[in-house]
């Protein structure tokens, strides 16, 4: 009985120390940021129902989207390669094939009408700085602009795969992968790094990557970090709230608000978990087996002890 009392004292002081240096200290060092539920409440609501056919005409015509964006799904490949694009815009404009499946509809509509507001980069593209956001706002094709925007969004949604058909890698590539590399998944800002037979081909690829990143660095101010280990260095909650609104966690950062839907964010996180913690399932299954073994071991050692101490007391 006395030993249980001693054990309780040891456990008590251990837990107090643990609580102080882990949960408590971290709550004092990092302010807790609540998720906004990917509702984008600061953006104007979508009041019109869009018509995909009219949207297609706008996207392909008066909307001017394909001046910069490719839409592979609709047979519009990119006019320029990623490096040339980055030289013009700072970053490669995304292909719009699955934008409708990853991004929030309200965000897409706001993005078309006012990119800097939707992306939350108004602090960077000010009249004083003289910097222009590379994506130009859509000022309307002559009709009701809200209706036109709703039509364009409806079109993008109509060509996008259903949300459950989009893979984590696709979601990551569209939402994050043009600025961030994930080297543990072999991902670079200009795409997956192929296996090269010749050193020369590899050097060509690396040169392109370097050029792209130089342009990106000029656009962002610094090269956005590699995200391979971010699931371990930042944790899921931090990443999820960061993806939702970078300004809440890193005030003044050049990273735009990504605008993914809740679904899209979950896909992106799934990708990052696989990159930084790919053995989580194996860990759980091995862990259970080890625990079962240890319980048997503890029971056996208890019986051994009882057997030996029978003669001692």
């Amino acid at each position: 009985m006395k030993e249980f009392k001693i054990l309780a004292v040891v456990i008590f002081f251990t837990l107090v120390t643990y609580w102080l240096v882990e949960p408590f200290a971290h709550s004092q060092m990092h302010a807790h940021v609540e998720s906004e539920g990917f509702s984008y409440d600061d953006l104007p609501p979508l009041e019109k129902t869009g018509d995909a056919t009219r949207g297609q005409d706008l996207v392909m015509g008066a909307g001017g989207c394909i001046g910069c964006h490719s839409i592979e799904a609709a047979g519009f490949p990119a006019a320029m390669d990623a490096v040339t694009n980055s030289a013009s815009y700072g970053v490669n404009p995304p292909d719009l094939s699955n934008a409708g499946g990853i991004y929030d509809a309200k965000f897409l509509a706001a993005l078309i009408k006012n990119p800097t507001q939707a992306l939350m980069v108004e602090h960077k593209f000010t009249p004083e700085s003289g910097k222009m956001h590379p994506m130009i706002a859509f000022y309307g094709a002559g009709g009701d602009i809200d209706q036109e925007v709703a039509d364009m969004v409806a079109y993008l949604q109509s060509i996008a795969p259903k949300p459950d058909q989009i893979t984590p890698a696709q979601a990551f590539e569209t939402a994050c992968g043009r600025c961030h590399s994930v080297k543990y998944e072999n991902w670079t800002q200009i795409g997956e790094k192929p296996v090269f037979k010749k050193k020369r081909d590899e050097l060509v690829f690396l040169t392109q990557l370097e050029d792209y990143n130089a342009n990106l660095m000029g656009y962002m101010g610094k090269l956005p970090p590699d995200l391979s280990m971010y699931i371990r260095s930042r944790g899921e909650h931090y990443l999820s709230t960061f993806i939702e609104n970078p300004q809440n966690l890193l005030h003044g950062t050049a990273m735009p608000r990504v605008g993914v839907s809740k679904d899209g964010a979950e896909k992106v996180l799934e990708y990052l978990v696989e990159a930084g913690d790919p053995k989580h399932a194996e860990r759980d299954s091995v862990g259970v087996k080890v625990m079962i073994f240890l319980l048997v071991f503890a029971a056996a050692s208890y019986l051994w002890k009882k057997e030996i101490w029978k003669d001692l007391h």
Partner: protein, 404 residues
Amino acid sequence: MAHFTKATSVHDWLNQRLAIDTLQRVLSKEYWIPKNINFLWAMGMVLAFTFGILLVSGIFLLMYYQPHVDTAFDSVNFTIMREVEFGWLWRHVHAVAASVVFLIIYIHMLTGIYYGSYKKGREMIWISGMLLFVAFSAEAFSGYMLPWGQMSYWAGMVITNLFSLGSLEFNGLVEWIRGDYVPGQAFLDRFFMLHVLLIPLAILGLIGLHFGALRIPHVNNQDGEEFDFDEEAAKYKAGNKKESKVIAFANDFLSKDMFVVSIYLIFFFYLVFWHFGFAMDAINFDPADGLKTPPHIYPEWYFLWSYEILRPFPKDPGLVAFGFAQVIFFLLPWLDRSPNAVPASRRGLFFFWFWAMVIDLIILTAMGKLPPQGIYSTIGLFAAWAFIGLWVILPFITRNEKRA
């Protein structure tokens, strides 16, 4: 040469050459342990077990780790964690054991202090134990450098800066230790050598000394009872095991040790599989960046108390206080002037001293991690003064202690 006869069995063959019967008698069957001890006395075995775990897991990690500033981070986080089968298991086992070993060392140390196990002929046990603590600290620090993460890089910067000795500004010494102006390749190479060779060797030697130091004074017991080990051993050997106050190390005490170890392993592997994050600072999963300081730099949890004795003071007094904290535990057998080797609960004022020290160490630990601002730095300063004050009053409160 000794006289050898034709062996009757493998056992006999070995016995003639290695005296294994004698070894077994001296090391286990007739190594006498008091009967009235509780599970806290099994912490030595728990520590030995954890050290074994560290050694084995370390050897597996060593097969894939690359001590180079360009590849160290990826060799740990990519090669070991993703490419090598069960590399993640060895890595988590190693990291969790490195942290848990300090929890057990602190329990072991405080057990020794509570029961007065450093006194009257047991000084060498205490000193060799403190030397082990220092060696483990150096081992942990050098190992923490190896993944070349952001926090380990900056912790390396801060700790090596201490060697400039405050306003003496021995910067040459700092550069000599680092082998460079900032932590770099030379720094990583030498810490790698220290971590995998020199300090483990020292630890193995010190463990031998620590065990050896136990042979003559024997371990203390939870009642502080003094008895004649030879007399009690004679009773045991005569078959009066129930009356004898001693038991044999093997299998009597070993069976209890193993039960405690088995419970400990459940706790340990729970951490390994489902709570390894507690032992690994998240910031260390960012690669080292010499151009970007982390917002808060703090050591691993087991160094926080001594870090907090350094931090709240100005530069030079801080270093003096830090130096004081590093050596003062060694002097415990002489600063405690009471001859009583009994539990603190029977020692009057010392009982309060012990619990004040435990609470002060926990407060220092907590404040060492918190940002040094506002109320936290004030509490930290008071706790640091309390630590020094407790050691200063120890000889006075124990001098007139009544015979327990």
